[in-house]
Structure formats: structure tokens, C-alpha cells
Symmetry: D2
Subunit: 110 residues, 4 copies
Amino acid sequence: MNQTIEKIIQFRDERDWKQFHNPKDLAISLMLEAAELLENFQWKTSDEAIAKNMTNIEDELADVMIYAVLLADNLGIPIEQMILNKIEKNEAKYPVDRFKGSSRKYNEAE
Amino acid sequence: MNQTIEKIIQFRDERDWKQFHNPKDLAISLMLEAAELLENFQWKTSDEAIAKNMTNIEDELADVMIYAVLLADNLGIPIEQMILNKIEKNEAKYPVDRFKGSSRKYNEAE
Amino acid sequence: MNQTIEKIIQFRDERDWKQFHNPKDLAISLMLEAAELLENFQWKTSDEAIAKNMTNIEDELADVMIYAVLLADNLGIPIEQMILNKIEKNEAKYPVDRFKGSSRKYNEAE
Amino acid sequence: MNQTIEKIIQFRDERDWKQFHNPKDLAISLMLEAAELLENFQWKTSDEAIAKNMTNIEDELADVMIYAVLLADNLGIPIEQMILNKIEKNEAKYPVDRFKGSSRKYNEAE
């Protein structure tokens, strides 16, 4: 996976695109890719979307991850540490004994 | 990084949440996290957002990646291969010699 | 309805907020409100969302319309004419005889 | 404006599309149109976006409003009353004397 992340950075640098990559527009781009991903599910059940749009779903999900990596790189955030920190916070918000098998949000009544 | 991905899956499975994770709602959730990330930049320049909201930016970017991993897992997509495939497509869309140092889209005139 | 639109502009002007309202951040804000609206449907069927979140759905849908009006005003676009123009384009894209009772997109095969 | 709203409903009914219009997919569609609107501002300042993409901005903003009207109709919400209710709530959240000339959010310190 770390090699894949390096590939993403290399793709950007070969095109000299870092100069355009301000964090605000990267955050917009990430959002737009997430919307293109979601578009595959519009007016469809999950099963219909998978049957009809699987290749596009993979492509757009990849684009989401690519932009997420580019934004992390741009901000100088170490990705693994960032995710581990957030998992820790999520564990505090959603303790196993209170949320096992429940889909409610942490601030919704039991 | 592969261990981090396993941690994400483990977090889900300890709470028995896979039963709620249909791809359509995961794609919605990914979009919502991308919006929460972007909210940190609303009415702000990139520099102002970083100065004021850096911790929250890290948290929301982590949530984007976590949902991206969960959706890939749910759909049975191998993440690295998916990203490498997309980089290949992007290389065909944006050849270095035509797009180096240019911010235009592949379908915009030179 | 025209009085309601004036009320929206008046709300902004009483707070002297036009100075902050650049079109890019208004477009971001509109997107964020649409995400907050959609959040009411996350992990839920339409019926569950309506049963549980109707007041919030109304509030967020109102915010979407409010930002849409503010963006149109900011760009000097006459709202009615803008909508009528787009309906005309949509009529050309989706002629009744070919799309009556069909949910496919204009660029999808019949 | 009320005639314009009727035109939107008429466009839908001529194509017999109400049968597909469940609130969840309408909320998704509204979000997707807001993303397409925002795409016009990606990697651009507001001025650059306006100079280059004004027609598309108008079209996408119209689509946002059209879907907002369709969702309100689908849910049986009277649009004007909905907006007036929300303005009232916003007035309570943002009293003129505390927020005139300030861009901070209601929950941000003065």
C-alpha cells in the first residue's frame, strides 16, 4: 500500500501539479469525486448499482482515495497515524458494549 | 498501512456493524464525511482553515479514508489494485507531455 | 413567493453579510446544506427518515433554497428566467415521447 | 414564481416520473446537482469561474432549485411557509445586534 501511495504522489509530480494543489480546492475535489461515486447509486438499489456500474464505482472510489492521499500529502499529515488517531476517538465515541449491533448515532438515544 | 486497514475492519466487526453496511448508504456516508471535511474551508482561505481547524481537518479526512476502506471491503474490491488501475487510466487521460504544468481538464482546449 | 425571496435578501442585508458572500463560498455552502439534508436519510429508508427527521428535513431543504436564492442574487441571475431556461433545455434532453415512464438518463440506452 | 414552480411539477408529470421520485433519491439528486454546480468553481477563483462557466453555473443552479421544488412537492411541504419558518429560526440563531458584520458561526466565540 505504501508503494501505491508513492505512485499517487509520483503521478502528480511528473505533471508538476503540486503548484495548483491548495488544500481548499483539494477538499472540493475530494467532495466532487465522492459525488461522482454516489451518482452510480442514484435512482438505484445497491444491487442494481453494482450490476450496472461496478467498473465506474471502482474508478470513482479510487479517485476519492487518490484525492484523500493528495490532500494528506499537501497538508503534511502522516496518513496511518491520522487514521489510527481517529479510530481511537471513534472507539471512545462508540464503545463496543453500548453500540454492538446498533446503527444509531453516538448522540441518539438508546 | 495494511495493518491500519485491518484495524478499520476490526473496528467495524467488533461492533457487528457489517449488517448495516449496504454500498449505497456507505457511498452516502463517504459523501457526508467529504462535506464535513470541506466545511472546515467554508468562508475561509486555505491558510485560515489550517490555522483554525487543523485537528478537525485531520479527523474528517481520516473518516473519509475509513469509509472508503469500508466501502471497498463491502464490495470485495482489492484497494491497491483498484488505485493502480485508476492511475493507469489517469495516465492515458493526462499524458505528461500534454498536461505538465497545466491545470486544465482533459476535455478542455489547450 | 417573491416576497419570501425578498425576505431572504433582507435577512442577509440586516446582518451586512453581502461582503462575505463570494460565489465560490456560496456554492460550497449550498453543497454543505444539501449534504446536511441528505444526512437525514443516511442508513434509513425514505419512510424511516420522514418518520424520524421530518422537521430537520424541512429546515435543511429551506437552507438549500435560501443559499440558492443568495447565490442567484449574488450573481445577478433572475431566478424565474433561469429556471424556465433550464426547463426548456431539459425538455429538449428528455422529450416526452421517448422518456415518459422511464427512469433512464438521457445518455443511457433505451 | 408560483407559475414557475407549477412548470417544474408539470415537466415531471408529463413524463410520469413521480413514480420514481422517492425522497431519499431526490435528496441524493439535489446533492449531486449542488456538486455539479460547485464543479464550476474547482481550481478557480470566483471571478475565473464566472468568466469561464457562467452559463453552466446558471444551468446547475436551476437544477438545484428544480430538485428542491420536486422534493418539497414529494414531501407535501408548502415551500413559502417552510422558508419563512427557517428564516425565523435563523433570526433567533443570528440576532442582528450580535452578528451584524461578522462571518463567524453561531456557535463560534465572538
